[in-house]
Subunit: 258 residues, 3 copies
């Protein structure tokens, strides 16, 4: 399902000036919404590409939760156009030997540590090219988001060719655990799983969820249900209530198809 304003017949995107679309750089991290470190990364990106349009995907990835981050990165970036640049830092191993990557996937560029963070994007759209970034000798070993990834994001946004930023590398590693499970809990307490349609009965944390619906208003108040979420994965919700609390469930928990 392609979601664009092409849905409005006979209308084409307009930039207001005939100029090419400005480059886009997005940011995903577990720094917390109030962290000034995000602005530090943005300052570096704007220093290298002053016309970049900056968009936050989330800085509320649960700390060090690479699986949740992988889903949030996919969900927040899948509607951006070709050439858009997506910096992601959820990185329990910052400063260690894991690789630093630029992954071209679906025509977009993803930049961050090689720890599984790109796995869901790649599941969905495949990998086109992988570049390994060199470490930054003068950089702070605790903040590669600013000192390694942000300069690379700025360079890509400014039109520097991908291959000039590092050396070709092997594909990124997958997520460690690939069995059915909860990837992320949204702000309403809905549980996003890594299962694909069709909607079917699930067991989570010893609860059987046997109702399946198309949208929240089709559900009975208080009864948990399975539905196809807006990102294409099965989710579990409760109408005007929180499935995470009702079921005592959280990110990482296993899910069984029943």
């Amino acid at each position: 399902m392609a979601i664009t304003t092409k849905q409005i017949p006979g209308k084409k995107p307009a930039t207001g000036s005939g100029a090419p679309a400005p480059p886009v750089v997005t940011f995903t991290s577990d720094f917390g919404s109030g962290s000034p470190l995000v602005a530090a990364m943005k300052g570096v990106v704007l220093a290298g590409c002053p016309t970049a349009v900056l968009v936050d995907v989330s800085h509320e990835v649960p700390r060090f939760d690479v699986s949740a981050g992988a889903f949030m990165l996919f969900a927040g970036t899948r509607h951006f156009g070709g050439g858009s640049v997506h910096l992601a830092v959820v990185d329990p191993g910052v400063g260690s030997a894991r690789r630093r990557l630029i992954v071209q996937a679906g025509g977009r560029y993803y930049i961050g540590p090689d720890n599984g963070l790109f796995a869901i994007v790649i599941d969905e759209v495949g990998v086109q090219r992988v570049i390994e970034l060199p470490p930054q000798p003068g950089g702070a070993p605790t903040f590669e988001g600013r000192d390694v990834f942000a300069p690379a994001a700025a360079a890509l946004a400014a039109g520097v060719p991908l291959e000039s930023l590092g050396s070709p590398g092997d594909p990124p590693i997958p997520l460690p655990d690939t069995g059915p499970r909860v990837l992320w809990t949204d702000g309403f307490g809905n549980l996003v799983t890594n299962l694909k349609p069709p909607a079917r009965k699930l067991r989570i944390h010893n609860h059987d969820i046997v109702a399946t619906v198309k949208t929240y208003s089709d559900a009975r108040p208080g009864e948990p249900f399975v539905y196809v979420g807006s990102m294409g994965y099965l989710e579990v919700g409760v109408r005007e209530s929180r499935a995470d609390r009702l079921l005592g469930a959280r990110s990482g928990m296993r899910v069984e198809v029943i």
Copy 2:
């Protein structure tokens, strides 16, 4: 009170290039500050209008609290210029039969579900035109913010005429409860009511608030007071403390003028 940089005598807004001002699209929701769904909506807006300037009003509207959302939408958008586009999603009824609207008010465009969310904007500046958006057959029934409202916001920002986006409709519905009450609690614990000046004595949650002041520093520490808030409504605060905690009060509570 018009608050613009016209306050600086002899200076006119400059775009730095003589170009027309870029279109502005703002976002208000109860998705939570860390939700990647906001970025999904922004991706759709930028796909349709790459030069749009994107501004978040709030994604911390209390879940499903349409009254608080109506105030926050008004407060966050009233200083934007004519032609600016304001997408708002606080929508307990997503996927149900409530209408999907574009409301032109005060020269600005407001887009979202017809559930009272536009009521305070309309109280303040009236309604110019109302357009009903058609449902989006291929869209996700749980995420009209992305699949119905964001494409409409992009189209308006890109200069598509309002009337081409749907059919003329009746005015939006008001908020269900219009008696005096607390609309929103700000980050400092100040209680914003739906009462207009002059400042006068109020009773909230069995507490009489009898002091009225012009600004926080005029108040005595520890004593709650009524003042005219920066958005033109009566508010209740406590100097360097939290009125919500001191009074045990929260959004939705009734207020009496005493």
Copy 3:
């Protein structure tokens, strides 16, 4: 340590159109991430400078904590270029007699109340010029961020000369407490102090922290350690855990060098 994309040899920043870099305005406050008052300030800035690129540094400065705000303002803005404009409001004394300032420092402009908020920026880069802004007679006495500081930020971003916005003033006041202490706790629970390198043994809240490391992955799990943080100050962390909880420490607490 200058962190810019100059690190990528032979590549110059490109704006994509040959146009000059758009003006940048950042925002720092203790309003809370969900406050619509931030968007109100942005509306005023865009009214006066429609091409401004708007960046949030943080709206999660701990309420009224000027020391934490001073660090966050420094950390979030130090990588922005010359001419960038940084509006900051952490202001227990709003509406009182403290001065309203524009401080030019490190080629950037900082705007806000004179209560110590600019102290760490000035410690790092010195002061070039100081302008006192006049009060805004028609403005809301509780929201100078919108009615005094935002119009000034817009004017500077639009190219209005600094000296035309007010009268020359004395340097800003310093922070009240200048002894060694915790300035800010980041989202991972790391404690940022106001001590400069080299890393050495510290005592915080009756705990001796005797390990010093270069990066998190060099540390032993569970043992607190001192390291040079990414902003150039000594920090205390615990690998994949929270130093603030382990040590029972928080912003403002004294630190001893042992």
